[in-house]
């Protein structure tokens, strides 16, 4: 089925305050497409993880937010992008509890579990792009 984007916006991720703003915007969009409270909370948490990764490891970046529609179904898709050092070993990075920076190593695996769709691409030296979606 074809997926249509009905609303697109881009937010910067340059500071901790930006991460807070991303969370607030994702919450508002999740409410707009009618996600329930638990689903909103899951998706906002996933977004928070990816925004923080883009800031901490990617040296900052941006997120594109889209309300998507496939037939009667509405969803929210977020694409986090940075031009940082990239990830050499994605499988390792996705492994729970793996961290290169003193974190808990739960951000990527957690974001995947908290979303309906998860896609990660990274080119060492060029940057990282992570796309997640949650459907109503």
């Amino acid at each position: 089925m074809t997926v249509k984007s009905t609303k697109v916006e881009t937010l910067p991720i340059r500071s901790g305050d930006d991460v807070v703003r991303v969370r607030q915007r994702v919450r508002a969009l999740a409410i707009e497409i009618g996600l329930g409270l638990v689903d909103q909370t899951k998706f906002v948490t996933a977004a928070s993880e990816l925004a923080r990764n883009a800031l901490d490891y990617g040296g900052g970046g941006e997120v594109r937010a889209e309300i998507v529609q496939a037939g009667m179904r509405k969803g929210l898709r977020l694409t986090f992008e940075d031009q940082g050092p990239g990830i050499a070993d994605i499988e390792q990075a996705m492994t729970d509890h793996y961290t290169s920076g003193g974190g808990l190593g739960l951000g990527l695996g957690g974001a995947k579990r908290l979303s309906n769709e998860f896609h990660i691409e990274s080119t060492p030296g060029a940057g990282t792009r992570v796309t997640i979606a949650r459907w109503k």
């Binding site: 991460v19 919450r27 909370t41 948490t45 928070s48 739960l106 951000g107 957690g110």
Partner: protein, 134 residues
């Protein structure tokens, strides 16, 4: 710099997290709590988080690390008031709040702390009681 106020009630330090935490604030809170446990000899830390709409790995790490330091300083950590949606999300995120006790609200959190402290005191004089009874 902003700081989160810490309240002292008997041997318990109480913190209410109401703002969206950012890095500096989280680090400052950890430092302040550590210093205050040492200064006051507090036996427990109660962190009230009912205002938090999410707990991500960043906040989770802060809570776990506060609990770890508190434990070394012989103080318990109780997190009170976690929203149900947040609790459900934490499980899927994979975050285990190691070393942290949770309570539905501040009142229950305080009750939990009091009963733990009372238990410890009893343990402390358990030998005496045996002598009396025998």
């Amino acid at each position: 710099m902003d700081r989160i106020p810490i309240l002292k009630l008997g041997g318990v330090l109480i913190v209410t997290i109401q703002v969206d935490m950012h890095d500096r604030l989280a680090l400052a809170l950890e430092e302040d709590l550590t210093a205050m446990i040492v200064r006051t000899g507090a036996r427990a830390v109660l962190i009230e988080i009912s205002a938090l709409e999410i707990v991500d790995s960043f906040i989770g790490r802060m809570l776990v690390s506060i609990a770890a330091v508190s434990r070394i300083l012989d103080a318990d950590t109780v997190v009170a008031g976690m929203r149900p949606a947040v609790a459900i999300t934490l499980v899927e995120l994979g975050l285990e709040l190691t070393g942290i006790k949770t309570a539905l609200n501040v009142e229950r959190g305080m009750a939990l702390i009091q009963s733990r402290l009372a238990e410890e005191e009893e343990d402390g004089c358990g030998g005496d009681r045996e002598v009396h009874e025998g």
